[in-house]
């Protein structure tokens, strides 16, 4: 066999276990001796809300007229103990994303959009910026293990407080911000030297178990004279028990963040291999609230991979009171698009994606601080690529679209209030989703793994 013949009959059988992705991983590990850090959420396919469908109405249920009959989306959170619960126009909120990971422009854009849409936004690991307090009518203030910039004046300025125990992208992990993003303002807000690689704590400095958390929650209530709702955010893992403990500790609202949830920077091994999917987490959280007879008394917010109005509707039907969105807000702002808008014109960002070693549609490089579209950056030039008013309009449009899709589905199911969507409206398309969501497989009454009546 001569050379040219052999090259015509290449053997190209790719190994399932050692495919090009894994080969690439092994080669990178061998070259650098260091794990990969990246942004956004899990990239692998997981059982998700896409694997559920609504039944809609026909003879056995009446639908509502699409445009004529009202369907309310009003949402109230924090009714258990707080004197001033949070009242929103829609059950779709914006998740906590730190100033540091996001630029001040982005924080402002998000605040403006949330205010126009009648919903809340949330601070993050890095404290409250004046831009976001000014632009946000309803602002949730996070209390994180790092306590960067945590300040009783800001607690009093906030509309609710969210104690962060974990995130879906990294349950059990702390924050991370690489030196490129620690510019003078970020450094000052976090009391850190400029330019250092910052890893923040994964446990709170002043409490450890659920009994301590009870007292910590009481401290925040005393500080705010019992006015503001206290949320507790947990990364989805042992969700059934964690939700019960958070309720016992006195939370007004529980935020459960599934493994699809985004992050600004985390080890990819953590993003892809720790935590459970949002679909399973919602069900476990709702079961925990029901077992404690707290459904409707303690509100549940679900996050992690919420993208569409259908996702929102399915989360609500499964028992959530609201959802929270991170990554998709960034995408509404232009994350992963080919262009950015500056002074009213579109400019190509493709070369800048390429410089990061990626391309629009594939980027997860938030950790680098070199976001080609100016969203997750602290670079003085790059951050100008996101103009607050342009970003605000896009985020508002996105929220409005989700809310319209949500009411479309609710009306089709005959509900005058999106909070009346119920599990009975849903069926599953796959066996995995049926088992995790504990819903029947479409066209059957089969719920895998659930004959005994045991709770999980």
């Amino acid at each position: 066999m001569n050379h040219s013949e052999s090259s015509q009959s290449l053997s190209l059988e790719e190994s399932a276990g050692y495919d090009r992705r894994i080969l690439n991983y092994i080669q990178n590990a061998a070259a650098h001796g260091l794990y990969e850090i990246r942004g956004l959420g899990a990239k692998r396919r997981l059982p998700h809300f896409d694997d559920l469908v609504f039944l809609g109405s026909s003879l056995s249920r009446y639908p509502l007229e699409g445009y004529r009959e009202k369907c309310t989306t009003k949402t109230i959170l924090g009714t258990r103990y707080a004197k001033k619960p949070i009242e929103l126009e829609m059950p779709i909120t914006i998740a906590g994303m730190s100033f540091g990971s996001l630029s001040a422009n982005v924080k402002e854009a998000i605040g403006l959009a949330a205010t126009e849409a009648g919903t809340s936004t949330t601070t993050g690991d890095g404290g409250m910026t004046s831009e976001e307090r000014l632009s946000s009518k309803t602002l949730i203030y996070q209390c994180l293990p790092s306590r960067y910039g945590f300040n009783p004046d800001d607690v009093r300025k906030a509309d609710a407080i969210e104690i962060v125990i974990g995130q879906g992208a990294k349950p059990g992990g702390g924050g991370m911000l690489l030196g490129q993003k620690v510019n003078p303002r970020v450094a000052e807000m976090r009391t850190l030297p400029e330019g250092i690689d910052q890893r923040s704590a994964c446990r709170h400095p002043d409490w450890t178990g659920p009994d301590d958390l009870t007292i910590k929650i009481q401290e925040l209530r005393e500080l705010t004279d019992w006015e503001k709702p206290i949320y507790v955010k947990i990364g989805a893992s042992r969700t059934f028990n964690d939700v019960k403990l958070a309720v016992h500790a006195g939370a007004d609202v529980i935020v459960v963040d599934g493994m699809q949830g985004g992050t600004a920077a985390t080890q990819s091994v953590f993003i892809e291999h720790v935590g459970i999917p949002t679909l399973a987490a919602v069900r476990l959280a709702v079961e925990a609230l029901e077992e404690l007879d707290m459904k409707g008394k303690v509100q549940l917010i679900v996050s992690g991979g919420i993208r569409t109005g259908a996702d929102v509707a399915k989360a609500l039907a499964m028992g959530a009171d609201a959802v929270s969105i991170g990554q998709a807000i960034l995408m509404a702002l232009g994350c992963n698009s080919e262009t950015y808008i500056q002074n009213g014109t579109h400019h190509s960002a493709i070369a800048d994606y390429n410089a990061l070693g990626t391309a629009p549609g594939y980027c997860h490089h938030c950790h680098t601080g070199q976001c080609p579209v100016g969203v997750t950056t602290q670079d003085a030039m790059l951050e100008k690529r996101l103009e607050p008013h342009v970003g605000a309009r896009r985020v508002k449009n996105y929220l409005q679209t989700l809310n319209m899709e949500l009411t479309t589905i609710a009306r089709a199911c005959g509900k005058q209030n999106v909070h009346h969507l119920e599990r009975e409206d849903l069926v599953a398309l796959t066996i995995e989703a049926a088992a995790m969501a504990r819903l029947p497989l479409a066209g059957t009454n089969w719920i895998p793994g659930w004959q005994t009546g045991s709770s999980f």
Partner: protein, 226 residues
């Protein structure tokens, strides 16, 4: 000036804290029968003087701003946590996480402080008359801790810019913490803090522990290539 006296066996904590936040008009306040209650005098934000006659539970004087709080007894977890300014004085012993993440002000503990004293400190000053437990000053970012006695294991683990001064011995240093020579300004700092706290030790007896800064950037060998 006459003291305003609250008896916690008669008055609810909520009423007392509400008064401390909104009703106090400058007269000194005395709280009796605290009986280990949690969250006494949290969130004060005016220059008032509060004396608590007895032991307190968790987070006493938490997030203090401007006020001068004296605890005539022992303090539970997280005394003066996240203090911003003012002064908190524990005349007895303090439990875990004393002064955690404090950004300003002065915390004085006459006795010993337990584990994680000054954890995550962000600019406050802490002076401990006795010894501190393990993992004290863990990830402390800014501020100063003066320890007149000894320290347990892993003092100053993952320190940033905070500085620790210790008179006795440290059972072990935490990751990235190192002893450093005392400069004139260190002696002066220790002297001033001791004076403010009311201790009469000689600043010459103290040693300095600070960050070696080897953890400021990950794995420099790898060219930040992650």
């Amino acid at each position: 000036m006459d003291s305003v006296i609250f008896d916690l066996s008669q008055t609810s904590l909520r009423e007392v804290n509400q008064f401390l936040h909104h009703g106090a008009n400058g007269n000194p306040i005395k709280i009796i029968n605290p009986d280990g209650a949690h969250n006494i005098a949290v969130g004060l934000h005016s220059p008032i003087t509060v004396e608590i006659a007895g032991h307190v539970g968790y987070y006493a004087a938490g997030m203090n701003q401007l006020a001068n709080v004296t605890i005539d007894g022992n303090a539970g977890t997280g005394v003066a946590e996240n203090m911003m300014s003012g002064r908190v004085h524990v005349k007895g012993f303090a439990s875990v996480s004393a002064g955690a993440s404090a950004q300003g002000g002065l915390l004085v503990i006459d006795g010993n402080a337990s584990l994680r004293c000054g954890i995550s400190l962000k600019g406050g000053d802490i002076v401990v008359g006795g010894s501190v437990g393990s993992f004290s000053a863990f990830m402390a970012q800014a501020g100063r801790i003066v320890i007149c006695g000894d320290a347990g294991d892993a003092i100053g683990d993952s320190l940033y810019e905070a500085v620790i001064y210790i008179r006795g011995t440290a059972k072990s240093l935490g990751a990235d913490a190192q002893f450093e020579p005392m400069s004139d300004s260190d002696y002066q700092t220790v002297g001033e803090l001791l004076a403010k706290a009311g201790f009469s030790h000689d600043s010459k007896d103290f040693k300095r522990i600070a960050s070696a800064k080897r953890l400021y950037h990950w794995n420099a060998d790898a060219n930040q290539d992650y």
